[in-house]
């Protein structure tokens, strides 16, 4: 018992070291731009760079649209599967997992072939078209996380009975989804949204191959050409992702309590 606990701590400390030492090293390195002393010079340069601001804003907007698209696709789908087509669940779950199996580069090459300027659907012929395609691609990448988050949220309520209770009171589908289903899975939807945000902000492959001015390609570009700034950028990107995860944790405390406790 006692030695079991000892070894558990050893493993834990080794794991934490494996994770934190590179992180601390990066932080430390990012502070060494000015010779001899620690300073925030690298951060100042990065945050003051207009390309940083432009690409970061671009990625934030892309993330917002990705989240909207993801919610519009995933919430009705997951709801309908639970309500009417439970036999399709394994198939839909499999489909939502495909983006984890198929590398983004494969998807994006498919896009370029399918939607090139000479194809019947020339998404890539215009700037807005390419932006739209990027958002669609991001929604695909985020699908496994979004679907799972929403489906878990739906599991905590009795979807079928609540739907019927609303229907018999005269509600149509819009009211049912807007007033009954969505508010009860809102926390789950938000945690899916923050995961999506974290993915989109750092994404490189799709943005780069579709030639979009996003944050991921900017990171890569800086990383290849500078010494201290990439370290500062990596720390900033990590802080954003970490902030998203903490928000999910905080939000999950506010989930509506289920009223269907047995008594």
């Amino acid at each position: 018992m006692k030695s079991g606990r000892f070894w558990a701590w050893v493993v834990f400390i080794l794991g934490a070291a494996y994770f934190f030492i590179p992180l601390l090293a990066t932080v430390e390195f990012s502070l060494r731009m000015r010779r001899g002393v620690h300073s925030f010079d690298a951060y100042q340069i990065v945050l003051g760079d207009p390309r940083f601001q432009a690409t970061f804003l671009y990625s934030v907007i892309a993330a917002v649209f990705t989240i909207i698209l993801g919610v519009l696709v995933v919430v009705p789908t997951a709801y309908w599967i639970r309500l009417r087509l439970p036999q399709l669940r394994p198939i839909v779950e499999f489909i939502t997992l495909l983006p984890l199996v198929i590398p983004a580069i494969v998807i994006v090459f498919g896009y370029i072939r399918m939607y090139g300027s000479n194809s019947p659907l020339p998404f890539l012929g215009s700037n807005m078209g390419a932006n739209a395609l990027l958002v669609i691609g991001y929604a695909t990448l985020a699908l496994p996380y979004m679907y799972r988050a929403v489906d878990t949220g739906l599991r905590t309520i009795d979807v079928r009975t609540l739907t019927e209770a609303a229907q018999i009171l005269g509600a149509g589908w819009g009211t049912i989804i807007g007033r009954v289903i969505l508010p009860n899975v809102l926390i789950a939807v938000l945690s899916g949204a923050f995961l999506t945000f974290a993915i989109v902000i750092g994404e490189f492959t799709m943005a780069s191959l579709l030639n979009r001015p996003a944050f991921g390609p900017y990171l890569q570009n800086i990383g290849a050409n500078r010494a201290y700034e990439p370290a500062a950028l990596a720390v900033i990107a990590f802080a954003i992702t970490w902030g998203c995860m903490s928000l999910i944790q905080i939000l999950s405390r506010f989930a509506p309590k289920s009223a269907n406790r047995p008594n």
Partner: protein
Amino acid sequence: MADPFLSIQHVRKSFGATTVVEDFNLDVERGEFVSFLGPSGCGKTTVLRMVAGFEEPSAGTIVVGGKDITRLKPNQRNVGMVFQAYALFPNLTVAQNIGFGLKVAGMSRADIDARVAEMLGIIKLPQMADRYPYQLSGGQQQRIALARAIAPKPKLLLLDEPLSALDAKVRVSLREEIRSIQKKLGITTIFVTHDQEEALSISDRIAVMYGGKAEQVGTPFEIYNRPATKFVANFVGTLNVLEGTVTDAAAGTVRVNSEQVSLKGKLNGSKSGDTLSLALRPEAISLGRQPGRDSSLSGEISEVHFLGSVIRVRVGIGGNTVSLDTFNSPATPPPAVGEKAEISFSSSDMLVLH
């Protein structure tokens, strides 16, 4: 007779190859309280869901107030429903739950508030308006669900085993409350239950269901005292069944365990030598010979259960056992197991089961 308010005509429902409701017919008067009573899986919920519009009948029609609603969607029917699992919206307060149907119907804010307050008064929970469902007990939640169902003044109120998740005490008080609210508002109601005491105590009429059909529809008194089929007789109340053989069909005499019982006028169609199932309610039997009881049988006491005010005695008569209840009397000790005993009853209380 005036046209019934709700008329369910020749309704059938199949899921794939299995038919779960078969030629179901029922007419309900305006303001009437009808219970569906039957064992699990007999199709009570299915019929109710067809009236609500959640299932579409495979055949037949459902008419409410002279209008055929068979193919209408649930949200076009103006029907209220209370579910077994309460089904309150967890994200809405009690007041918002009750006002949900009113808001959907486009009622003004002030009218909604007034109606919600009135409903909270009717269900006697006026101080609960701002609570959330998870802050309420099961019985309170179900009363809110009832208020939510009746707030939009539906034409019909449907309740699917609304009390079965509650404990026994709450069950009894809430069923009486449901009945009194129903009477006060005069709302036509269908109440599904598999608890016979519940059905007997609060219904105007009961439809006893078995295998997807209505076996018998009648007042609680009729269902209990004049069951039309063997199933109804067995399902409703405790019943003692004795085997008898017709000895003289014309005179109406039947032999039960070597004693003769006269059942004149009850044997309709049986011939001499036929075997019959004869039934007696426990309360129709007395221990010992009693004045006014024209028939008797002798046997031996096999069990005695002292229940307080009542003593339940089981008497073996030939191969059958008969239960009967006698009142406790401090002066006379209860009979002992193994004693010889005679039971008496009126032959007019004896049911011949077909």
